[in-house]
């Protein structure tokens, strides 16, 4: 409650650190931890933060914007275009269904029709922040469920523009004249006539796409040339800020704009830099957002009418869940995926805060209704992560993957014995060598440009994400003998290899690993054929150094082979050893310890002579000793 920003910051950070650690300890999503922290430091428990909760909420929404930008970065335009049917179909069905059901519900419990309509709009929207954070945290982005959830959320981001446009039409005309505070109408769209509004929307989308190609990428190139890292951070933030500003100025959803911006930049060479730069900001801002939601739960209102609130809360979650389940069924999702979707999106989202306060300013809502609905929103956001856990721990284990898998036939024509995933520097070398032996591997790559180019060169290359089992299936994994995983992202490698090992255990996996630590994890996952990209090349260099220093090449060749053997066996031994705590936060420290361990082993091993053949010196010594012992 003190005015000091520093004090607030300390409270927020401390709350987050403590509560998220506790949540993680119990295997819960970090979202729950943040929400708990919010409740705890909020006005009704410890009272560290009070009225400013709502301002924080507004500021923290920026986390959602950054998140959408990052999601956009991971979706290439081609994929986005492929998703258009899912977005419109699933999203449309979900929003329409939820609105109809909740309209009738609120109308029946006595809300005026206009209030019921606005409320149903708010209820139809889910929380991108909570759902996406949870999905990402569990690594489910690449599943049918992840895709569907994302499509629906994206559709909601688009439809909210129209909702915001429609709400003023519902305003009570007699009261509106008395309303002077018309805050949300301060954007450009409302001051323009209808036709120009559409034009402004299209223009701003075109502007984002154009700027992405012809302004941002050249700018990033210049920035990269300076070699000053913080400039890149500044540029990344500048991009997101500018897009948000533009979108808010014309009255569109900043999150949607950021998403578009991300998609435009996803094919640029700075994709990964932007990702790694913005990731920490996103996480902190999202955390702040969840804390603010927790802090904004009004316990006074709950205490006043616990039954009403409880009833509405259950009804809202049931309505949302029902519609999501039906949507999943219409789009023929598998039962377990459908259940995940049902529970993960069954909350009212952050857009509700915007819609409801806008309607309140237009006098559509009364203070009491507004309070109730805000509490409901915050409560649903807090409850869905908990319901999701119940689903995962209790329901899913009973029903998981029992349905038979029926998939459409593939469009990949020729199935090969060898599937090569990733055709970058590493994979292409593998592929070229195989090809020189008449083995044409079926190649999967994520880079659409490369795919086009390689196709022109006559390679059989397919574009796609190999963590999707259906793509692997169309590539003929069922008939394949060997799958080579040659991608440079350890977590994706693990995802793919795990998937294949689970579903197609007959396929021999040949895996590229970046380094020892990577290899440890793969070994512990039960993988056999692991190829560390850092091993052969570095030894090859070391060999040439020693050769230049006068060591004999043939001997060095033998020694390198022996060193590789020794290192492989020590790798396997050390991988099997229990780790001192799975503390991945301090990875650098862990790696240093590991290196120390290795060097110690080397030291114990000493300079090793592997063979003594052709060693006339040692033979001479033995003979000399013999002569000394019995002089003839």
């Amino acid at each position: 409650m003190t005015g000091s920003i520093l004090f607030d910051a300390i409270v927020f950070l401390l709350g987050a650190i403590i509560c998220v650690s506790i949540a993680k300890r119990f295997g819960l999503s970090s979202v729950i931890g943040y929400l708990m922290a919010g409740v705890l430091i909020g006005p009704y428990v410890l009272g560290f933060i009070g009225e400013e909760g709502e301002d924080i909420l507004h500021f923290a929404e920026f986390g959602v914007v950054v998140m959408l930008f990052l999601i956009g970065l991971e979706i290439e335009p081609k994929n986005f275009w492929n998703m258009r049917k899912t977005i419109a179909g699933m999203g449309g069905l979900q929003v329409a269904g939820t609105m109809v059901l909740s309209y009738f519900f609120f109308y029946l419990i006595g809300f005026e029709w206009k209030v019921a309509l606005v409320t149903s709009m708010a209820v139809a929207l889910s929380s991108t922040a909570i759902a996406m954070q949870t999905i990402k945290e569990k690594g489910l982005m690449e599943t049918t469920f992840g895709n569907s959830a994302f499509s629906i959320l994206l559709f909601q981001d688009i439809i909210v523009i129209f909702m915001l446009g429609a709400i003023p039409l519902l305003a009570n005309t007699d009261k509106e004249s008395t309303t002077t505070t018309h805050e949300a109408a301060g954007n450009l769209l409302d001051t323009l006539p209808m036709g120009y509004q559409t034009l402004a929307i299209i223009l701003s989308v075109v502007l984002i796409i154009g700027a992405g190609q012809y302004l941002i990428v050249p700018m990033l190139r210049k920035v990269a040339q300076t070699g000053v890292r913080e400039l890149l951070i500044a540029s990344a933030l500048l991009i997101v800020f500018s897009i948000s500003f533009l979108m808010e100025y014309v009255g569109l959803s900043p999150a949607l704009g950021a998403f578009l911006g991300g998609v435009v930049l996803s094919s640029s060479e700075y994709k990964h830099e932007l990702e790694s730069t913005l990731e920490p900001f996103k996480n902190l801002l999202l955390g702040l957002f969840f804390i603010a939601v927790g802090a904004s739960i009004n316990f006074v209102v709950i205490a006043k009418m616990p039954l009403t609130i409880g009833g509405i809360l259950i009804a809202v979650i049931l309505i949302k869940a029902l519609v999501l389940f039906i949507t999943g069924s219409v789009f023929k999702m598998k039962l377990d995926q459908k259940m995940l979707l049902t529970f993960s999106l069954a909350q009212i989202g952050e857009f509700a805060f915007v819609l409801l306060s806008f309607a309140f300013q237009l006098n559509i809502l009364e203070q009491e209704q507004m309070d109730i609905l805000l509490v409901i929103t915050a409560l649903t956001m807090s409850f869905t992560p908990i319901i999701s856990i119940i689903n995962e721990r209790l329901i899913l284990p009973r029903i998981g993957t029992k349905e038979s898998i029926k998939r459409p036939m593939d469009h990949i024509a020729k199935s090969q014995n060898v599937i090569l995933v990733g055709f970058g520097h590493f994979g292409s070398t593998v592929g070229r060598f195989l090809r020189s032996h008449g083995i044409e591997a079926t190649i999967l790559d994520q880079d659409s440009n490369r795919v086009d180019f390689l196709r022109k060169m006559g390679f059989e290359v397919y574009y796609g994400d190999a963590t999707r089992i259906d793509l692997l299936e169309s590539a003929g994994i069922a008939q394949a003998k060997i799958l080579i995983c040659a991608i440079d992202n350890p977590s994706i490698t693990q995802e793919i290899t795990k998937l294949v090992k689970e579903k197609y255990p007959h396929v021999e996996l040949m895996i590229r690993a970046q380094n020892r630590y990577d290899a440890y994890e793969l070994l512990n996952m039960g993988m056999e054929n692991i190829y560390r990209e850092s091993l052969d090349t570095s030894l090859s260099l070391a060999k040439d150094v020693l050769s230049k220093l006068g060591f004999r090449k043939y001997t060095l060749n033998q020694q390198v082979q022996n060193f590789i053997k020794y290192d492989e066996s020590s790798l396997r031994r050390l991988a099997a050893e229990p780790k001192q705590g799975d503390n991945y936060i301090f990875k650098a420290r862990k790696e240093l310890e590991e290196q120390e361990r290795l060097l110690n082993e080397d030291f114990k091993r000493g300079i090793v002579e592997y063979d003594n053949h052709w060693d006339s010196e040692s033979i001479r010594k033995v003979l000399e000793d013999q002569q000394k012992d019995n002089p003839s």
Binding site: F551, R552, K553, Y554, T555, W614, I619, R620
Partner: protein, 176 residues
């Protein structure tokens, strides 16, 4: 002046006192091309066209190697197998090496007394070198008698220097 090609094969050259002295005496001589095969082809991947060209450019071919298990080190055998091709080195049209001089330069750990019917090795060096002799013959080369440095385990540095000088003058005489 005839040109001499020394094909030297020793997998553990860095440990061979005797061969170090011998090689140092001849490797930089004028008209001598010294080829350290284990250093050139540590992975046994012999550049056959290049080796053939070298052979064509020289008049005297020396196989210089230690005697171990009564034969040459494996890389020299590999060299013979790969480079001396049919219809190039031998066969109806295999005249590329005809009338070149060929000989072995040998070091052995055991002394000369061990290499005779009464000795532990039962046969003489000349007999052990029959395969090389016949290889040279088949390739229409003139096989000279080998230059041997025997009992290297017991040789003193001074004695080794003498052998080195002898090796050098042998090459001088071959170049005439």
């Amino acid at each position: 002046m005839k040109k001499v090609l020394v094909l030297f094969a020793h997998p553990k050259f860095e440990k061979s006192r005797a061969n170090l002295v011998l090689v140092n005496h001849i490797k930089d001589k004028e008209g001598v091309t010294f080829r350290d095969l284990y250093e050139e082809y540590p992975d046994f991947l012999i550049d056959v066209p290049f080796e053939k060209k070298l052979l064509e450019q020289h008049d005297v071919i020396i196989w210089h190697h230690p005697m171990y298990w009564y034969s040459c080190p494996p890389l020299l055998k590999q060299w013979i197998d790969m480079v001396l091709e049919f219809n190039w080195a031998y066969g109806p049209n295999g005249k590329a090496l005809s009338s070149k001089i060929c000989l072995n330069v040998i070091t052995t750990g055991g002394s000369k007394e061990l290499y005779c019917t009464q000795g532990i090795n039962s046969y003489t060096i000349t007999e052990f070198l029959r395969p090389f002799e016949q290889t040279a013959n088949l390739c229409l080369m003139n096989y000279n008698k080998p230059f041997t440095v025997m009992g290297t385990y017991k040789l003193t540095d001074v004695e080794l220097e003498v052998y080195g000088t002898q090796y050098s003058s042998l090459i001088d005489s071959l170049q005439q």
